[in-house]
């Protein structure tokens, strides 16, 4: 039941639904009392503390490392260097993108903040003190900072650890039909092109990364408490990299304070903690501070794009082509399906019916931290959506067309689904025109345009410095990787398991491979079981994060939990229901075919009084009831769900901004977001996810950036420098929905975790540029960037402002 408090307008969620519907998050009873248990809350007996010495240089040869003074510190138990690790064959480790990365630097440091030495001490103060006692002599080298010069003939070679390497080129990759696209462009009446940068940003979760490694010298079992979105993948990687037997490794992910992709990869500190525990014979805790998190863990984006869009003179979009220079940092460590070096970027034809599209992506090394796919981007769909939604606006700007009308007339129509794009994706379902119309209605688009006209006349009369902008974006997301045939991480196919056991009293435990980081899994997945079996969500425990307690699977990122683990949950619950039917048939002494399911009970057809509830069935399944010979007792099931396709949620966003042209300040006045993520299991949780993603969009469009100066100094290494949006920058979100179920998903749901992060940045950017009538300027549109854009001298946002 959902009621609205007449005084506050807040919805009171006063009852638990038997299935779908808004309900309070089960985990919040713990969190709002400060009783979450995060990594840094965990204290093991005899635990030691570690700190990492990091490179002050972006690029330098290591001449020598002297650890003797640090080792002499009375409370220091171990100092580990690259040399120590090299002796164990662990100085380098594989990345998730067919490269290797340094665990602790041996030959050179390749970005500012890179790990150089790992100090283990009896307390964290001593560990930090001892860092100052490690003496490293560096021979600084020129750094490659501007990706646009990474391939210059005279650029320093960053990865000279690789035999025979003479440049900073990583890969060339393309998708789509180049010839067909060129043909479309040759025939087009109008073409608009635009250079745009999606600057380097950072997921910046509230909780930083960390790990506690505990090697039991007696049992030989390694327990690792760690902030991971993918516990099982981590276990397998530890087994493969460190040569430890997989059954002797237990990964435990406790409560996670936000991930956004930042907690997918394995960081050097994690590996060092394991080595530290082996060396000292004690548990070793390592937790990052904020600067370490921002400087060294996986960044996001950093795509330099040149896009072109072709259309007929009457506004029919024909094709898009794009070349991308992808800055991957010092090691190619992007976390994405390993056959796709640009992730899912090639969904950039977006929501439109295009005849052809093509992209060519070149990856380069620079002296920056590795990473690249993170920050709720659905494997680079943020970049793809930004590209197409900016290009549509640029075209509208060039031709004097209304951006809403241009989108409306080119959106895919519902009868075209399933629709195979020019780039080969098969979109499952959608009713795009209705989604857009809903958003424009909610926003009052025509009235807004009329108001904008008045505001502009006052500006042009010199009466006011204020302008008003209206920005649109229409996005198509592609989430829920695999199928395993086409999508894998390090050779591990992207399918996920679920195990469901109904206890004799009818309560249940659901074990999943995915891992919540704040998304509300403990509630949402219990609701899926409730919907399928009629067991209250309050009576279902959802277990995640502990590899000894959960089935194998690839974890939570790329909005894949509901599409994959959610499907696994529905399927495993249906298996249990099938078993329950047999048990109920035995109980009621009828044929299973004579039973009809009504949520929570089987009833005998034609005899409504004869029924067995799930509670009765559960007890009977564990009792002395005689079951057919081929039916095992108890009530449980397992399932591995291999998604047949991605799910394709969509959304239409309208952003309204006020811009003070004299100061460059932008105020987001309104934000209308209409999301279609298929069936909503817990609408409140969905709305919460959308709220967060919209705030991300304001952050990226207006303030977030990791810039570097020419020496490679990181200019965003604290929250004073790397700005995250606050409630003060966010308007009261106006949310709407359309519901187009996914036809291939067992419950019709689509992933939504990243929809708003993907869809909102272009809406905000388009709004600001619409206000100031500037064709393009790069994010973030800080006051300085806006002011400069108005004056036709835009800032290069990824470099130090000179």
């Amino acid at each position: 039941m959902t009621t609205t408090d007449p005084d506050t307008g807040f919805r009171a969620l006063d009852a638990t639904p038997m299935g779908y519907g808004s309900m309070r998050r089960k985990e919040d009873a713990r969190f709002v009392r400060g009783k979450g248990r995060y990594l840094d809350d965990i204290v093991l007996p005899g635990m030691l503390h570690a700190a990492i010495l990091r490179s002050p240089h972006a690029h330098a040869r290591i001449v020598s490392i002297d650890t003797s003074a640090a080792e002499a510190h009375p409370r220091v138990r171990a100092v580990i260097t690259g040399e120590t690790l090299a002796g164990l064959g662990l100085a380098w480790m594989p990345t998730l993108s067919h490269d290797v990365q340094s665990v602790l630097a041996t030959d050179k440091v390749r970005f500012q903040g890179q790990e150089v030495a790992f100090v283990v001490a009896e307390d964290r103060y001593s560990a930090r003190d001892a860092l100052a006692l490690v003496d490293v002599e560096y021979d600084p080298l020129p750094a490659v900072i501007d990706a646009q010069h990474a391939l210059d003939a005279d650029a320093p070679v960053i990865r000279d650890d690789q035999e025979g390497r003479t440049d900073n080129h990583i890969f060339d990759w393309e998708a789509g039909d180049a010839a067909a696209t060129d043909d479309v462009f040759a025939r087009a009446d109008v073409v608009s092109s635009c250079d745009m940068l999606y600057p380097r940003s950072h997921p910046a979760p509230m909780e930083t990364c960390g790990s506690i490694a505990s090697m039991d010298p007696v049992s030989g079992k390694l327990t690792v408490y760690t902030t991971t979105q993918a516990p099982h993948a981590h276990r397998t990687v530890y087994a493969l990299v460190a040569g430890l037997p997989e059954h002797k490794i237990q990964i435990i992910s406790p409560d996670i304070g936000g991930g956004f992709g930042n907690k997918v990869g394995i960081y050097p500190g994690y590996v060092c903690a394991v080595v530290g525990s082996i060396v000292t014979g004690a548990p070793v805790k390592w937790t990052e501070d904020r600067s370490e998190n921002l400087m060294s863990t996986s960044f996001a984006r950093d795509y330099h794009m040149r896009g072109e869009i072709a259309a007929t003179h009457d506004g029919k979009l024909l094709g898009v082509r794009v070349t991308v220079l992808a800055d991957h940092g010092a090691f190619n460590g992007t976390a994405q399906p390993s056959k796709m070096p640009a992730g899912l970027f090639h969904v950039f034809s977006g929501s439109y019916d295009l005849a052809a599209a093509h992209c060519a992506v070149t990856g380069v090394y620079t002296n920056k931290a590795p990473g690249g796919v993170a920050y709720a981007c659905s494997f680079r769909i943020t970049e793809a959506v930004y590209l197409i939604e900016r290009l549509v606006d640029v075209l509208a700007h060039d031709q004097g067309w209304d951006p809403a009308e241009l989108r409306r007339t080119n959106l895919l129509r519902s009868e075209q689904f399933p629709y195979t794009t020019a780039l080969g994706w098969e979109y499952d379902s959608g009713d795009y025109p209705r989604t857009l119309a809903t958003a424009l209605d909610m926003a009052g688009y025509d009235e807004l345009r009329a108001e904008q006209k008045q505001v502009r006349s006052a500006y042009e009369r010199g009466e006011s410095p204020m302008l008003m902008g209206i920005g649109l974006s229409f996005f198509t997301e592609a989430v829920g990787a695999g199928p395993r045939r086409t999508m894998d991480i390090l050779g591990l196919g992207m399918a996920d398991g679920a195990e469901l056991r109904i206890h004799p009293t009818g309560k249940a435990v659901l074990r999943l491979s995915c891992m919540t980081q704040g998304q509300g899994h403990q509630t949402t997945f219990a609701q899926i079981v409730a919907e399928e079996l009629g067991i209250s969500p309050d009576d279902i425990e959802v277990v995640q994060g502990d590899t000894d307690q959960t089935p194998f699977g690839l974890g939570t990122y790329g909005s894949r939990s509901t599409p994959v683990s959610g499907a696994a949950t529905a399927m495993v619950a249906r298996k249990v229901r099938d078993r329950a039917r047999i048990v109920a048939a035995a109980m009621l002494e009828v044929s299973p075919d004579d039973l009809e399911w009504e949520k929570g009970a089987f009833r005998v057809a034609g005899d409504p009084a004869a029924a067995a509830t799930m509670n009765e069935i559960a007890m009977a399944a564990h009792s002395d009831l005689e079951l057919p010979d081929d039916v095992e007792g108890h009530l449980d099931a397992t399932c591995v769900y291999n998604p047949p396709n991605l799910t394709y949620p969509c959304g239409a966003y309208v952003c309204v901004v006020d811009v003070d042209t004299a100061t460059g300040q932008v105020k987001v006045r309104r934000f209308v977001a209409v999301d279609d993520c298929g069936v909503r299991i817990n609408p409140m949780v969905v709305e919460g996810q959308v709220h967060g993603g919209l705030a991300d969009g304001i952050g990226m469009a207006l303030m977030e950036v990791m810039a570097f100066d020419t020496d490679g100094n990181h200019l965003g290494a604290s929250f004073m420098d790397y700005l995250l949006p606050t409630a003060m920058e966010c308007p009261s979100w106006e949310l709407g929905e359309t519901v187009t179920p996914s036809p291939h998903h067992p419950i019709g749901a689509k992933g939504v975790g990243e929809s708003a992060t993907v869809g909102s940045p272009p809406a905000v950017t388009n709004a600001v540029l619409d206000a100031i009538r500037v064709r393009h300027a790069d994010m973030p549109l800080t006051p300085a960037a806006v002011w400069r854009a108005v004056r036709g001298t835009p800032l290069r946002t990824d470099l130090a402002i000179g």
């Binding site: 560990a127 003190d129 004299a662 460059g664 200019l715 006051p783 300085a784 400069r788 000179g802």
Partner: protein, 292 residues
């Protein structure tokens, strides 16, 4: 890992006690007030004082009061105290304007007026606001008290005239009739340091002529956080929009901003002028009783 280096800790119970502790522990000791700059610097090990002398228990440093014709702010008055002060609202709305845009409520609850001045960060807002209203800093040492105009208080970035064994005890602001004041700031996000900011205090005679003007500038490299030539230009001219625009132009010309990630030099210089003009307009409106 951000943890401070080892330090000693002392808790002062009076100004005299604080001075005595400063004398005993010498120049490597530091007073800690709200701690919102010092503690993060210690955690980053940019600052490594050997001794922290905590003055949070020194009651005589707190409070905001009117003393004759002066508004007196204790050095340990919290930002939140100043923001909520009816005396400040009545006499110097510039201080309330500035406080509203300093950091966030959590910082304002703890951070202090005196701590901000003594930190002497070039982007700190109160230095310019106090420069605009011609405030005077009162400093106490073993030899007693001395008064230093705020415009002579700062020696350079992060440096003030307060000696090693001295303590800023209060800030005194002369209250004069016929005045209005305002503070205008541009920040990249709420809680951020200023990209640039300007404070203005104006005194008008009944005919609208400027009898005195004070202009403070934040984060743009203005000498002593002030725009002296622009102030001089305004004295004796009618308080008109044109005059305020010209004053803004002069202020922009005289400042020396440095480019950083908050903006390039041309933008900051432009802001210095634009915000000066806007602050003057609002100060004038308030002097005329047209705006709260």
């Amino acid at each position: 890992m951000q943890v401070p280096a080892q330090f000693e800790y002392e808790r002062a119970t009076s100004v005299a006690h604080a001075v005595e502790l400063l004398t005993r522990y010498g120049p490597d000791s530091r007073l800690v007030a709200g701690g919102h700059s010092l503690i993060p610097m210690m955690k980053l090990r940019i600052a490594e004082p050997e001794t922290l002398i905590d003055i949070n228990d020194v009651a005589e440093l707190t409070g905001i009061r009117l003393d004759g014709t002066e508004l007196v702010l204790g050095a340990m008055a919290r930002h939140a105290d100043l923001l909520a002060s009816p005396l400040a609202v009545e006499h110097f709305p510039i201080l309330v304007d500035a406080e509203r845009v300093i950091a966030d409520p959590v910082v304002r609850n703890r951070g202090t007026v005196g701590g901000s001045l003594c930190q002497a960060d070039p982007s700190e807002d109160l230095s310019a606001a106090f420069a605009a209203v011609h405030a005077v800093a009162v400093i106490e040492g073993a030899d007693g008290r001395r008064q230093v105009p705020v415009r002579e208080f700062h020696v350079g970035p992060y440096q003030t005239v307060v000696g090693d064994a001295e303590i800023l005890v209060e800030i005194r602001v002369p209250v004069r009739p016929g005045g209005g004041s305002a503070y205008e700031k541009v920040e990249r996000r709420v809680g951020d340091w200023s990209v640039a900011a300007a404070g203005a205090a104006l005194w008008l005679d009944p005919t609208g002529v400027v009898t005195d003007a004070g202009i403070g500038l934040t984060a743009v490299g203005a000498a002593q956080f002030a725009a002296a030539r622009a102030e001089e230009f305004l004295r004796g001219v009618p308080g008109s929009d044109d005059a305020f625009t010209e004053a803004g132009r002069i202020a922009a010309e005289d400042c020396r901003p440095v480019a950083d990630q908050r903006g390039p030099v041309d933008y900051k210089r432009h802001l210095a002028g634009e915000l000066t003009t806007r602050a003057l307009r609002r100060a004038a409106a308030r002097a005329r009783g047209q705006e709260a």
